[in-house]
Symmetry: C2
Subunit: 268 residues, 2 copies
């Protein structure tokens, strides 16, 4: 069948959702966007996303693609995002829509992802961040945390930070390209970028770095954690609400994307 | 009567409230904090604030003081903020509590205030900022806006930006010490600081600067607006949700504050 493919960049406040994926109990973000698509396309297209996010996790630059029969594809990509935003709730927004090459796949073509994690490090929580940051009341040692973070970029087996109990077949080696902590007063922003992420890996990394900042681990302990490949050797998993999928990277050039050079990024 | 005075620094998400002040219809933030105080102090102290904020406006560093009979004041200031936070809703937080000098007055002693205003300048709204930023979809000319903002610091009659219809007696001259626009991708942060603000003055300034960015005014038009002293010569009033009272400044030294050197600031 002759079809057209579209690529969507989606932002959401994950507070009200049971994560990205369609759920048996509760509502997934995917479901809401597919309901919107069904209003616009009689074929009721299914979405294929770059990633799945857990309950309460947010996104600014989630990417997903869908296909419709060519006969349904008369709408411009620009108009599509406006029309779709009119049918989905305000806590989910289509940030961009573009036509994509027939071979484009949001998940398989992704070459990198950036997550951001927000920590509010002050005695009392900032009420405006209560659904989008982790409240850590006790003063953290930022220098130690940054010293620990230095050990993470590179090609490592990240199994110790992942909540998945058994990676028996698939590799647990990933390449982290960035792990940086920015501080603006009590607000800490963890910027974590890599070619791929294991299940809950970001939250394991942030939880561990925060525990370094609390003195529960020494900065250099992180090396031993990586070597151990055992979840229990690393620190806690940071809560979901502080995490956001910030952007997904695709090859700048190549046949897999009609929109070369466009990272799915809302630069911020 | 022998009394003790306390100074509170209060943050709130103003979305659910009809502003700071106690309202005949709807709920004010003040009311919620006073209900909490009534749980801790039998004398049911009243709060006196540095400022009033409108419906939907937020705060990170609102300051208020209250007095209790000395007999009720056995609680340490540190414990007070914890105890009070347990009795008030999570969209209001006591960020700091300190003892204050008997002569301290949150409103009369304030020597400066900083407001921040957030604009999300992108086709689609960032869902995480939907209650705390103004969504301006069309691309703004940041250079023009900054050029216009240059005219605002200094001692001026700011009546043209204020929604108050008649300042017949009180002076409408204020000194602005800072008017700066920071950009981080689509997020614009307006930092506006001064010795005092007229009613809705910040929102008038931001609305006008945004309209400069849209080309509806030229940057130098701002001088004429100030000179005119007429509201209709300036631009629109920006919506409440983007505005936050960021901090209130008090004299660093002097008899009016037991806690010298402590601005009521949550630096961010």
């Amino acid at each position: 069948m002759d079809t057209l493919k579209y690529k969507l960049t989606i932002a959401y406040d994950g507070t009200a959702y049971q994560g990205w994926q369609i759920q048996k109990i509760g509502t997934g973000v995917q479901e809401k966007v597919e309901e919107g698509l069904a209003r616009l396309f009689p074929s009721k297209p299914r979405l294929h996303s770059s990633s799945r996010t857990d309950t309460g996790v947010h996104a600014l630059g989630m990417v997903a693609h869908f296909e419709v029969p060519r006969a349904e594809g008369s709408m411009s990509a620009q108009k599509l995002s406006l029309a779709l935003n009119a049918w989905i709730p305000p806590d989910i927004r289509i940030m961009a829509a573009t036509r994509a090459h027939a071979s484009f796949h949001a998940r398989f073509d992704a070459v990198g992802k950036q997550y951001r994690y927000f920590v509010w490090n002050h005695r009392a929580m900032n009420p405006l961040l209560r659904h989008s940051a982790w409240h850590v009341p006790r003063k953290l040692n930022l220098a130690s945390m940054r010293q620990a973070a230095v050990h993470l970029p590179g090609k490592h087996d990240f199994q110790c930070f992942s909540a998945n109990p058994g990676y028996t077949k698939a590799t647990t080696v990933r390449t982290l390209t960035r792990c940086k902590i920015q501080a603006a007063g009590p607000l800490l922003t963890f910027i974590i970028e890599g070619d791929g992420f294991l299940y809950r890996m970001c939250r394991g990394i942030v939880g561990t770095l925060v525990q370094v900042g609390q003195g529960k681990f020494q900065p250099d302990d992180v090396r031993g954690m990586l070597e151990s490949k055992i979840r229990s050797s690393a620190g806690m998993s940071a809560p979901a609400a502080g995490l956001a999928l910030w952007k997904v990277r695709y090859p700048k050039k190549g046949a897999s994307n009609l929109n070369p050079g466009a990272d799915s990024a809302i630069q911020c």
